[in-house]
């Protein structure tokens, strides 16, 4: 029970710090603006499918979310361990009864609360504005709610990943470099490499068997496939997203992938924190 109180203290302090250094404000603004920009600049003029505006924007926003949410998540978590080593506060914190596992979990919860709040406000405002302007049907609201909640799950994965990377080096600078590298590899290069392989393979065995599994194994792609697969729309989807409707796995496996990534990253963060000599 006292352990819970300690963890609440850690999480609350993380949350407070994120407010003080304007992180919450900035990320909320970013989420709101990007979502609104997609809604009104991207698919706006078509006009014909007004009631579908929410659904359509949810589809395009799921692609943008894959870039934006991991970036924000890594930004909030990359120095959570290395930063405390560098400032000397880790030694202080670990001299108290707080356990290392408690520290990792509590920091994760604090960061996640911050990110979830920013996503909820940002996408919430954008969703409300779109619904207000174009109206909304049940399918649209559902797609939007699904997007919002899975975006939080995707954020959780990358927060945990950022914390794991943060447990590797002793300097925040190195931790930042690792975080940027992780973002580039997982979010940008991974997809490019897969597309390249598919082109080289020209519809061979790789494309039919290995490729869908590899796409699904990436947390960002899993998030996107899950959202796109459940959106009934006649909007054309291309590239990797074409898999959304031809995926040889049940849709829920995408969620399972995200949960596995989350659990694995948290476990790695915990294991790395255990061997740190503050």
């Amino acid at each position: 029970m006292i352990g819970l109180d300690r963890m609440t203290a850690v999480a609350a302090t993380e949350f407070r710090l994120a407010f003080r250094n304007r992180w919450v404000l900035l990320s909320t603004l970013a989420f709101t603006l990007f979502a609104l920009a997609l809604a009104f600049l991207g698919s706006g003029p078509s006009g014909a499918l007004k009631a579908d505006a929410l659904t359509l924007t949810a589809a395009s926003l799921s692609t943008l979310t894959v870039y934006l949410v991991p970036l924000m998540a890594l930004l909030v978590s990359y120095d959570s361990i290395a930063g405390e080593i560098e400032r000397g506060t880790l030694a202080l914190v670990l001299a108290t009864p707080l356990k290392r596992g408690e520290l990792v979990l509590a920091k994760f919860c604090g960061h996640l609360a911050v990110l979830a709040l920013a996503i909820a406000i940002g996408y919430g405002i954008a969703g409300a504005v779109i619904a207000g302007a174009h109206g909304a049907d049940d399918a649209g609201l559902l797609a939007w709610a699904r997007l919002l909640s899975t975006a939080v799950l995707l954020g959780a994965v990358f927060i945990a990943l950022g914390m794991a990377l943060s447990g590797l080096p002793r300097q925040t600078g190195t931790a930042a470099a690792l975080a940027i590298g992780a973002w580039l590899v997982l979010v940008v290069l991974y997809d490019l490499a897969l597309l390249g392989a598919v082109i080289v393979d020209q519809g061979g065995a790789f494309t039919k068997t290995v490729f869908p599994a590899l796409v699904l194994a990436n947390p960002g792609d899993a998030f996107r496939l899950y959202n796109l697969a459940l959106i009934e729309s006649n909007a054309p989807i291309a590239g990797l997203d074409g898999l959304a409707h031809t995926l040889p796995f049940p849709v829920s496996s995408a969620l399972l992938v995200l949960v596995l990534w989350l659990a694995a990253s948290l476990a790695v963060a915990w294991a790395l924190t255990r061997r740190i000599r503050p």
Binding site: T8, R16, G88, T89, P97, L98, P278
Partner: protein, 304 residues
């Protein structure tokens, strides 16, 4: 004494690869006792603290805190630590930092906040730590360490960066804690600073414990020589040097040394020299000499 000790270190050795940072050190601290760990840069002071906290695993030897293993729940509850270098989050206020650590230690924040008064920064309690001066941050660090009246206070160079007045207040706070039964182990570089403020001193050099005891004990046991500087009358320095031996300095003076118990005899002999002597100056060994003696560092020009 050992069974009553809150901290007991026996024959402790800690290695970093090939470097032996702490080498066969034994030390114990009893409740209410203030012990200073003195040593040069790299002597192993911080390493010893980190081992007491359970961050480093000993390569040899044994240590207990309140009878428990370092890093165990019992030990963590008994110990409070102030690291050598700590930067609290700049955006938090002093009161928030204290509240945070009180909750980590399972102490009601209400009970911890008066400590800001104790260390003299109650006025700045609601200000961001980023606006604190170095001394104020150090005081906040001490307040943090005092939360929950720990049984053992580990303070790593707590007074570096404090002005003399702050230092005095700092040791007054420590004295009050010690009187209430807290054992204090602090590290420092200067023996003169802790004079009269500490019960016992342990001197570390290159990881080994060179001496341990009260300051009075240590200076007596060191048996350091007294330096007598004799200034010769005009043109008599050669003659003086021939009769006294010793060392010539400044062209006009001769320096001789003697043990404390030989002082009176030596002065009597000097008095017999009559007009050859223009002036006499006696330098007793000071605390820095005592420290140097034990830490194996010889002062420049010291007489062996």
């Amino acid at each position: 004494m050992t069974d009553a000790a809150i901290l007991s270190v026996e024959n402790l050795t800690i290695r970093f690869g090939a470097v032996t940072a702490v080498d066969g050190v034994s030390l114990s601290v009893a409740p209410g006792e203030r012990v200073a760990l003195l040593g040069h840069n790299g002597a192993g002071k911080s390493t010893l603290f980190k081992t007491v906290l359970g961050f480093l695993k000993p390569a040899g030897g044994h240590l207990t805190i309140a009878g428990a293993t370092p890093g165990s729940d019992v030990a963590r509850r008994a110990v409070s630590y102030l690291p050598e270098q700590v930067v609290f989050p700049k955006a938090l206020t002093g009161a928030e930092v204290l509240t945070h650590f009180a909750r980590l230690k399972g102490v009601a924040p209400k009970a911890a906040l008066p400590l800001l008064e104790t260390v003299g920064i109650a006025d700045a309690a609601k200000r961001a730590v980023g606006t604190y001066s170095k001394g104020m941050r150090q005081r906040l660090g001490l307040a943090q360490a005092l939360i929950g009246t720990p049984r053992l206070l580990l303070l790593d160079e707590p007074t570096s960066g404090l002005d003399p007045v702050s230092r005095r207040e700092f040791y007054a706070v420590l004295e009050a804690s010690a009187r209430a039964g807290t054992a204090v182990l602090l590290s420092s570089h200067s023996l003169s600073e802790i004079e009269n403020r500490i019960d016992r001193i342990a001197i570390l050099a290159k990881g080994r414990l060179r001496a341990e005891g009260s300051l009075a004990d240590l200076s007596r046991r060191a048996g350091l020589p007294i330096r007598i500087r004799v200034e010769a009358a005009e043109g008599r320095v050669e003659a003086l040097h021939a009769r006294l031996g010793g060392e010539r300095v400044n062209g006009r003076s001769v320096v001789v040394t003697c043990r404390a118990d030989e002082k009176v005899g030596a002065l009597a002999r000097l008095a017999e020299l009559g007009p050859d002597v223009a002036d006499i100056d006696i330098a007793l060994p000071d605390l820095d000499d005592v420290y140097r003696h034990y830490s194996g560092v010889t002062a420049q020009g010291a007489i062996q």
